[in-house]
Amino acid sequence: MTNTSIAYEFYQFMTEKNVLIAFTGHFDHLVTTSLLKYVRVKLKELNSDPAIDRKIYSILVESIENVSKYSAKSSNEPIIAMLLLCKSDTHFTIITGNHLLNSDIPILREKLDKVLKYSPVELKKMYREQILSKRTHENSAGLGIIDIAIKSNNQIQYNFKLSTDDTSIYLFQTQINIFDK
């Protein structure tokens, strides 16, 4: 396949799926800030509900921070991560992806499964316990996934795709319904 046909297929995918943003690269603070700025403009153009826009913005920030937190740290290679934001008639979908060490999977899976099975009341209780707990890291509150679950009515899916013997790609998806507030 020629490069132009690949580009055409890519273009078709982007338009059919109504992709608002597709990014791969290293999420540093500067890149995140630029992406967020762009998303804000893009959402405003769509004239959607400002409450939904803020929800998307908030979940985007937490999702990016979530995958960055669990990234496989390599001393010389930059971490290649991904972000996808799509819109359908009924909902927005945010997907983030990142490489992580296979050895980090069990703990993360346990944490995610716990959050996913919780009811809204249990999530609030978990959030409160975590916010009142002793700080273990000055730049992480351990609240991100719980916050995403609360704001999205727990419409979260995740997946680990084996990449090498030592690493996997961690995919994290949240759906935000357009009509529920």
Binding site: P50, A51, R54, S58, E65, E138, N139, L143
Partner: protein, 133 residues
């Protein structure tokens, strides 16, 4: 004690703790790259403000309400934990009898921001005044 003024940036809120007007305002967006570095001096300032409060009390000059305003457009979960730390100090001041009022400002279309205010208020057991805009 001198007022504390920190200008807003793209990712950190404006801090305007005015010791003359007794209004202490945190406003804007909060997702600083290094939340600890941003919030530690802010929290230390509030802790040190206790000396001023105690001094005013001795001078019997503590009748005016002290208004703490949260007017945040967005804050990330890392900032949330620091906001809770700020609120716990205010709660301590209130328990000591200092007349603090906490105002939580929110866009009336933003239910999540209203929910967040209610959650903070319940968590630290401090009454908020909710101001919609």
């Amino acid at each position: 004690m001198e007022s504390l003024i920190i200008e807003a940036t793209e990712d950190s809120p404006k801090i305007l703790f005015d010791t003359l007007s007794n209004r202490f305002v945190i406003s804007g967006e909060s997702r600083p790259e290094n939340a600890g570095k941003f919030f530690t001096p802010v929290i230390n300032w509030i802790i040190r403000f206790e000396e001023t409060l105690s001094q005013r009390k001795q001078e019997k000059n503590i009748d005016l309400p002290l208004v703490f305003v949260f007017n945040l457009e967005y804050f990330n979960s890392t900032s949330a934990k620091y906001i809770k730390d700020v609120l716990l100090i205010i709660k301590k001041f209130v328990d000591q009898g200092y007349p603090f009022i906490v105002e939580w400002h929110y866009d009336k279309r933003d239910d999540d921001m209203l929910d967040a205010g209610n959650e903070f208020s319940d968590t630290v057991e401090l009454k908020f005044e909710f101001v919609e805009y």
